[in-house]
């Protein structure tokens, strides 16, 4: 799989679109984390408490979870480009199996997930130690495993995006379908289905990996919403990612390229 990843990197590293989307991701993350401190809650400036370890980690990953859509779009472009340029077809002719095609894209998903998790981790270290209240640095890594959950979440989102790419083949419609599903269709279904059931849906599973900070407070207002524990959601995410890889493979297998 590393040689497949190396080939994928030959395609992506010189690709401007790839860096443009990653730059937008990084810039938005930095901006929001930087201005996060100016948020006022109940008339009080959040200020330094915003950057306070260990809670800062869950705030950070919760913010990062919103930008998974960008990563999904990146993966969709990387898949649909292969159809647009007919390079997928050529690579299968030249020696790839259909499983190799999925493995290659999945290796990109893992790499992007890892890169973003490392980025979020470094962001946390920097802002937490620079702006957080001093003297509590011993708590620094207590909440850090949140970043691992974030990694899983990003991989989950991108794997679903990969399915949309292989299924729809064209970048525009695939991105729209992916956004519609994740932001409109599944939320509507969730709304009409009891929590006991919808907690197993992909989007809800993924979002359970980066729960909203001080969710308890929020639920006093909106009413409790049942969702999986983080370890439970993690196990389920692994299952979903496996399923999405198989669906991608099945789509490639059953249709002409």
């Amino acid at each position: 799989m590393t040689s497949l990843l190396a080939i994928e990197l030959r395609k992506l590293v010189p690709y401007r679109t790839f860096w443009a989307i990653l730059a937008v991701y990084a810039a938005l993350m930095v901006l929001i984390v930087y201005f996060g401190s100016t948020v006022t809650i109940n008339g009080q400036n959040a200020g330094a408490s915003f950057y306070q370890f260990p809670e800062f980690w869950s705030k950070l990953t919760y913010i990062a979870s919103y930008f998974n859509l960008l990563l999904g779009i990146l993966v969709i472009i990387s898949v649909t480009d292969e159809y647009a340029f007919r390079t997928l077809r050529q690579q299968v002719i030249d020696g790839y199996s259909r499983a190799n095609v999925v493995q290659a894209k999945y290796s990109v998903v893992l790499l992007l997930g890892a890169a973003c998790a490392v980025f979020v981790f470094l962001l946390g270290l920097f802002f937490g130690s620079a702006y957080g209240e001093a003297g509590k640095a011993s708590n620094m890594f207590t909440g850090a495993p949140a970043v691992v959950y974030y990694f899983l979440q990003a991989v989950g989102y991108m794997s679903l995006a990969m399915v949309f790419g292989f299924w729809i083949k064209k970048s525009g419609p695939a991105i729209i379908a992916f956004l519609l599903y994740s932001k409109v269709i599944e939320p509507i279904i969730q709304y009409n289905v009891p929590d006991a059931l919808d907690q197993y849906f992909p989007m809800k599973t993924f979002s359970a990996l980066t729960p909203m900070p001080s969710k308890e407070l929020f639920e006093i207002v909106t009413g409790a919403s049942e969702s999986l524990s983080m370890p439970g959601a993690a196990a389920q995410t692994v299952l979903y990612v496996t399923l999405f890889c198989f669906i991608s493979y099945w789509l490639l297998r059953s249709r002409d390229l």
Partner: protein, 311 residues
């Protein structure tokens, strides 16, 4: 001469297609196609657009799923190792437009697991060394096509599969590509070539199959397909009616028609024009003129097509 020699030795088939069919909804794109591509041949798959050429190549190259039928490469089912012995260009040159020619070939080489050392030589062979650092999207159609042929040649495959390799090229580009194909064939490689241009198949190929509406209409060595239908024109020595009557009585004449001042004949395969002359002489007629006209592939092709629409 190489292919004739190999025919007589009955060498292995590089590709053996057996009863291949493909249906797209209501359209039967390919119907029970069976052909054999002998080792060392330049095999032309000839037919008008939509006759099933690309479908056939797509199936044997693993990108289209057949509805029925089987095929083997080198007498084995298709696998990663057989794929490595095949270099192919299907329909259009397929590359990343934002990468340079050399960058694109590096990806091809990695996919084929070929050493990058071959890239410079390949670029040189297809005449793109000077433009290798330029982006693919800036290439002319001819350059794109040559890059695709170069990519197909990477890894020194035993078989080259080329789908309409001169499509959209200017006359100079066409001549270059044909020259390239012939020089590759001289290295002992088998070439499977799909084309809707009769002229191309006639100039380049040793064997051919004619496809129409997904049906195989004719198959065999180009030379035998052409010899089988040679036309002979005779005149002089007697009047046209007498020549016609005598010709029709000969066992090896399959067709005879009176034309202005001469008689047009078709002989059974294997018959020599000398046999014809001898037969007339035996009847006391010394022919004034006897000309053999090899029918062009084009008129044969049109005949095959016509025979199909008449039936």
């Amino acid at each position: 001469m190489r292919h004739l020699f190999q025919d007589s030795l009955n060498l292995a088939n590089v590709l053996d297609i057996n009863g291949l069919s493909k249906r797209y909804g209501k359209v039967q794109a390919l119907n029970q196609l069976s052909i054999k591509v002998p080792e060392g041949s330049i095999y032309g798959l000839l037919g008008p657009n939509g006759s099933g050429k690309t479908t056939t190549l797509g199936i044997v190259l693993d990108v289209i799923n057949p509805s029925a039928g089987t095929f083997t490469w080198f007498e084995q089912p298709l696998s990663k190792s057989t794929k490595r012995r095949i270099g192919a260009l299907l329909e259009t040159p397929n590359f990343y437009p934002y990468l340079s020619g050399a960058q694109n070939l590096r990806i091809t080489a990695d996919v084929k697991r070929v050493d990058h050392g071959q890239i410079a030589k390949t670029l040189d062979m297809v005449g793109l060394s000077a433009r290798q650092q330029d982006k693919f999207k800036g290439y002319s159609l001819g350059m794109k096509q040559r890059l695709a042929i170069g990519a197909a040649l990477l890894g020194n495959p035993d078989v080259l599969v080329l789908d309409e390799p001169t499509n959209g090229l200017d006359p100079e580009g066409i001549a270059e590509v044909r020259q390239l194909i012939l020089s590759i064939a001289q290295q002992g490689k088998t070439i499977l070539l799909a084309s809707h241009l009769l002229d191309e198949v006639e100039k380049v190929c040793t064997h051919m199959a004619v496809l129409r509406n997904g049906h195989l209409k004719a198959e065999g060595p180009v030379s035998s397909l052409m010899v089988a239908n040679d036309q002979v024109f005779i005149s002089g020595g007697a009047d046209v009616d007498q020549l016609l009557r005598l010709a029709q009585s000969l066992p090896f004449v399959t067709e005879a028609h009176a034309r202005t001042g001469q008689v047009q004949l078709v002989l059974t395969p294997g018959t020599d024009s000398a046999d014809l002359n001898r037969a007339f002489f035996a009847q006391g007629i010394a022919l004034g003129q006897l000309t053999v006209k090899k029918k062009s592939l084009e008129s044969q092709f049109l005949e095959i097509i016509k025979a199909d629409s008449a039936s």
